[in-house]
Amino acid sequence: MAMPEKTIVDLNDVTVRFAGDSGDGMQLTGSQFTNTTAIVGNDLSTLPDFPAEIRAPAGTTYGVSGFQLHFSSSDIQTPGDAPDVLVAMNPAALKMNLHDLKPGGSIIVNVNAFDPKNLRLAEYPSNPLEDRSLNGYNVIQVPLTALTNTALEDSTLSAKEKSRCKNFFALGMMYWLYSRPVEPTLNWLKVKFKNSPDLAEANKKAMMAGYYFGENTEIFTTRYEVKPAKLSKGTYRNISGNEALAIGFITASVKSKLPLFLGSYPITPASDILHELSRHKNFDVRTFQAEDEISAITAAIGASFSGALAITTTSGPGVALKTESISLAVMTELPLVIIDVQRGGPSTGLPTKTEQSDLLQAMFGRNGEAPVVVLAPSTPADCFNMALEASRIAIKYMVPVMYLSDGYLANGSEPWKVPDPDLIPEIPVKFRTEKEGFAPYLRDENLVRPWALPGTPGLMHRIGGLEKKHITGSVSYDPENHEFMVRLRAQKVKNIENDIPDLEVWGDIDSEYLIAGWGGTFGAITEAVKRLRQRGAKLAQVHFKYLNPFPKNTGNVLKKYKKILCPELNMGQLSRILKSEFLVEVEPFNKIQGLPFKSSEIESKIESLIGVKNNGRE
């Protein structure tokens, strides 16, 4: 019998969410779909969302793990507000994700998982597939488990192992539905399961079965296509924030000709940086998994003292533990980058969820007057650029730099136009070797003291956490010297404003309204502003990546606007700083749910601010 002809529909953009048990392999499925989508040439943005428990009891709502992917034939900024398609591997996954789905969206469910036990675990009083509660959605019921088992009939794998392949069946089905090639995943399977050909074969079979299921079954009448995005010319790869950050620091190490030393203690969501850097020891990367957060940073300080590009990676609770050591780096004026991949707080908080609530900690969370440079990347790929910036500033100014990434940037990914490494500028390093006139706290024109490494003849000196006498660096309790040194350290950091880009204003520069954000919310804010401007609103936008010191023109920019709206994933930390630093009115817009902004949320907030009627025009 001839197969029914399937219609192919062109779409501009699609948001898909895969959801299942923590053990269902949803992160893997999502990242495979992402890599293939990147290769197809779509613009994309991802949002993995998983629980802190590694394997929560199967079937429960708190064990649900999700992976959202937004892909498009044009430029996009966010992982999408609401999925068009939800792939739900069990009732709990359906329950936890349904409310995000677009009205009329599609739900692909593994109908085999909707048994009485799973329905009870998900606390469904009746089966939603039968009680008409999903009316209004396009529900596609697929016996995923059964079909996977049938496909693997001949396999020697155990029943349990076979059933674990069902995510690949779902992946194959989705590849067919969105006209994606299967080859990239086939290649990946070959490498990944090099040593277990049985597993490679089973997953391949399951995926191909899913793909052909899409083609042959009458359940799917339509197939979709999302054409490649018109990105600027170049070579691209898909990259997550943590990956971009790691290779950014390797690049900084090559460009500064310094060995990269990472002192780190595992912590979610920063550990992947430690993993990534540990794989690249042929770049002379020196990773040290320390006994605790304090050892991680103090070992990095020791490495910096002896001439390495030293960094330490952690998340909010780890920064709290490192606080005293950061002060030590302030006092000893050594280059050091402290990477804080922010997560929900306080205390242990929400380890796997994102938040921007460490800004005040980064700026002020130390005893005494202890200024550090504070930087924040704005997108996953920007984590690369800001790693270079953080290294450049730390080395040039002999100063600790706080680098504020977040869970959303760290785990999210986007296409990255790979830069030509030859065009990336060198990071100059000056080690002091001349004996003549040396003093450990001598200052150059930028107020920077010399970096004199142990092993250099004639420059023996002592540094430490006690207040230092200007120039000589001897311990000093002199009241006037202390005030002088406190002001000097502050001035040194402040002067860096002359060496960073001005704040750029985008959109309608002459608007009365300015939307000001920082760090990882860039995509959501930019998307909201873009949509409103397309609808005729007049809006200006700035985004801070340099938070201490602020760009030199910040005050002048802010003062031009009648209303400033500051969306942040915290209680208003940047708002507070802008108000006190620049004496301007700022309206905070806050979300503290461990989730990134949806651009629609920011859009409605701006609408209510400017009044829907005139869209910001008089």
Binding site: N35, A38, I39, V40, G41, P228, G234, T235, Y236, I239, I247, I250, V254, K257, L258, P259, F261, H280, K281, N282, F283, D284, R286, F288, A290, E291, D292, I294, S295, T298, A299, A300, I301, G302, A303, S304, F305, S306, G307, A310, S325, S327, L328, V418, P419, P421, D422, T433, L453, P454, G455, T456, P457, M460, H461, R462, I463, G464, G465, V475
Partner: protein, 359 residues
């Protein structure tokens, strides 16, 4: 990259002339004294430790500029200021971690830690045990005065139970750490003890520590004449020293007493004091000390002597062991990885993974 790294490895001393190389051998104790006024209380045991270190250092065959002294917080932690070497006065308890970072990044340097009982065993306990566990090649000098000096007289983790101090007016109820036992348990590969008042012995221990490859730990009993005066009097005063201190020497029987008439006999797992002149026992019954005993149990028994009634306090090298150091393995891994995969190529790294072209 290689070029700059070489500069870091060798620093500038590669350019030093033959004359300067000669000078290395001719250091005197004075060369190791910095221009800073020493600010410990008069009569403090720290003076002796500093003097012995300055005396020993010229003979270690290490260039002045290749010494790095690292400390945490406390009276002992001021030590680096008084040594004319590279120095880092860190924060409380963290000296072993700072030292680990220095040594990992620069294995060519001779890295020393000056620390006290509060610094190393209380706030810095974690770093101490992990440095020992890794066998990283740093030298740790514990100035143990069994009291908090810089904060003016609270009990420490090595103070004896029942000690009355400002913070324990009714007597402390804490059981103290035995630093030697802790070091053995943590896997340190060189473990010794000495006395601030015994200049020669202390110097010998410092030299031995310097020669050792791996974590070397020396506990120095140090008198705090302000807050815990006389804590080690029995061990340091002429009249009582011989009967209370056992000088451990490799391959020698464990004898002590004014005329070396007493010795230790190991009875199963129990050490006991016997007299070799009383007719019942001879020198052949005395336990012969073996620093290199691969079994740590016997060193552990020795470390407990001072807590056992009627047994003398052992000083000297308890045990040592040769095994690869952490920084050796660390750099070997990097070198082997480079050999297998080739030195890192930035272009390859940036363009790795699945890439696609947009034209």
């Amino acid at each position: 990259m290689e070029e700059n790294k070489k500069q870091i490895q060798d620093s500038a001393f590669a350019k030093a002339s033959a004359d300067e190389q000669e000078q290395v051998i001719k250091y005197s104790a004075k060369d190791f004294a910095s221009d800073q006024d020493v600010r410990w209380c008069p009569g403090c045991g720290d003076y002796s430790i500093l003097a012995q270190m300055q005396r020993v250092s010229p003979d270690l065959g290490i260039k002045l500029e290749n010494f790095v002294w690292i400390s945490g917080i406390g009276c002992a932690a001021r030590f680096p200021y008084y040594m004319n070497t590279y120095g880092f006065h860190g924060i409380h308890g963290r000296a072993p971690a700072i030292a680990s970072g220095v040594k990992l990044n620069r294995p060519d340097l001779s890295v020393w830690v000056a620390t006290g009982d509060g610094d190393l065993l209380s706030i810095g306990g974690n770093h101490f045990i992990h440095a020992c566990r890794r066998n990283i090649d740093i030298k740790i000098l514990l100035f143990n005065n069994r009291i908090y000096g810089l904060t003016k007289g609270q009990y420490s983790p090595t103070s004896e139970k029942g000690k009355k101090t400002k913070s324990t007016p009714l007597g402390s109820i804490d059981y103290p750490f035995n630093p030697l036992a802790l070091a053995i348990g943590s896997g340190a590969t060189f473990i010794a003890r000495s006395l601030d008042r015994d200049a020669k012995h202390l110097q010998a221990m410092m030299k031995r520590a310097a020669e050792h490859k791996g974590t070397a730990f020396i506990e120095v009993f140090q008198n705090c004449n302000i807050f815990n005066d006389g804590a080690f009097e029995l061990l340091t005063e002429k009249e009582t020293k011989a009967d209370n201190v056992l000088f451990l020497e490799h391959g020698k029987p464990m004898l002590f007493g004014k005329n070396n008439e007493k010795g230790i006999k190991l009875d199963g797992l129990n050490p006991k004091v016997i007299n070799i002149n009383d007719g019942e026992f001879s020198i052949n019954d005395i336990w012969v000390h073996d620093e290199f005993d691969p079994n740590t149990s016997r060193a552990h028994i020795i470390s407990q002597f001072s807590e056992m009634e009627s047994l003398p306090t052992p000083v000297g090298v308890l045990r040592q062991e040769t095994k690869p150091t952490y920084e050796e393995e660390y750099h070997k891994q990097i070198e082997n990885f480079k050999k297998t995969w080739g030195t890192g190529d930035l272009k390859k790294l940036l363009f790795s993974g699945n890439t696609w072209e947009v034209n």
